[in-house]
Amino acid sequence: MAPRIGLKSLEKRRTLIDGVRSNLHVLAIGVKYFVNPRRMTLVYPKEYPRLSEGYRGFIILEKKKCISCAACARICPSAAMKMIRVMEPDPKHPEKPRMKQYPVINYQRCIFCGYCVDVCPTEALYHVNYHDVVYDNLAEMFWDLDTFQKEPEYKTALEGRPVRIMVHEELGLIKVPVGEGG
């Protein structure tokens, strides 16, 4: 059980008969797929893939878990995650507002590497399993703190039909329709 070098050489140039035969092979395989195409196409957005739970899509903040450590902003490779300071009431002393910092995210820059989610010590950030969301303008893509706490509306789901993409032994990829919420 060890890797090794395998010296090989090409088959020699063949005769005319071989040429005719391989031409026939070519045509036969073309006709084979012409008759039975075994398509892989996903007719997006009529159908859209329901991605797996571990998919690294949009990142959402659960604010009450956040401990303001700024680790997410520090590890962000594309400087998409930023910290802002907000005044908010202190649960212990409701009369005295306190200064706290929270992350906000700029989806113009985010590369969905998921470092922030993985670095968060309290799991205050999580991924949703979609990322095909459209914006009217770039400014909107800089989420403020409120937007960061809500999962964005998944408009594709309104008009499309979800399918789950599976690996198939004969056909490569197949689409299996899933019911709503399934």
Partner: protein, 182 residues
Amino acid sequence: MSGAELVEGPRDYEATLKAARARAESALREAGISFSVEEGKGFVDLVVDVDSIVKAAEALKNAGFTHVVSVTAVDYPKKKSIKVAYHVTSYLDPEIVGGIVGLAVYLPREAPEMPSLSGVWVSAEFMEREVYEFFGVTFKGHPDLRPLLLIPELAEKRPLRKDFVVREESIYEGVPERVRRG
């Protein structure tokens, strides 16, 4: 050389590196070139004088080092020098195949100049052009010394020298007013 001598199975890189280093050192000694050794993890640099580098390169080439894998330049502003290392290795010699040995010189930071080794190792040609544009090292005798990746105006700035500073944004910067208000 026959096929049996060549690489067949997995190899011990440390042994290869040791052999390559011994080969290179003896080649330089035979050529009567003095050198000092700088250790690294996975390679070794042999530092020679700029006047003897062509002779050293020829000696290494004759010792079986077929090609350059990297012309690595590092800027040391504190030492006022730029180190240019030709990391070379061999494809054809089974004893030292893959072992990386560096042939390095220290050049003054002001007007660094050294003879081109692309006459010895053809594979250095494009990499020398790269060092030229990023560090401003002039290679005398290079067949075609012009910037490779950059446009000439940008190459004038010698972007990989340490005095070309690229500043990273802090984690509080770049948040628009709308978002900062929370």
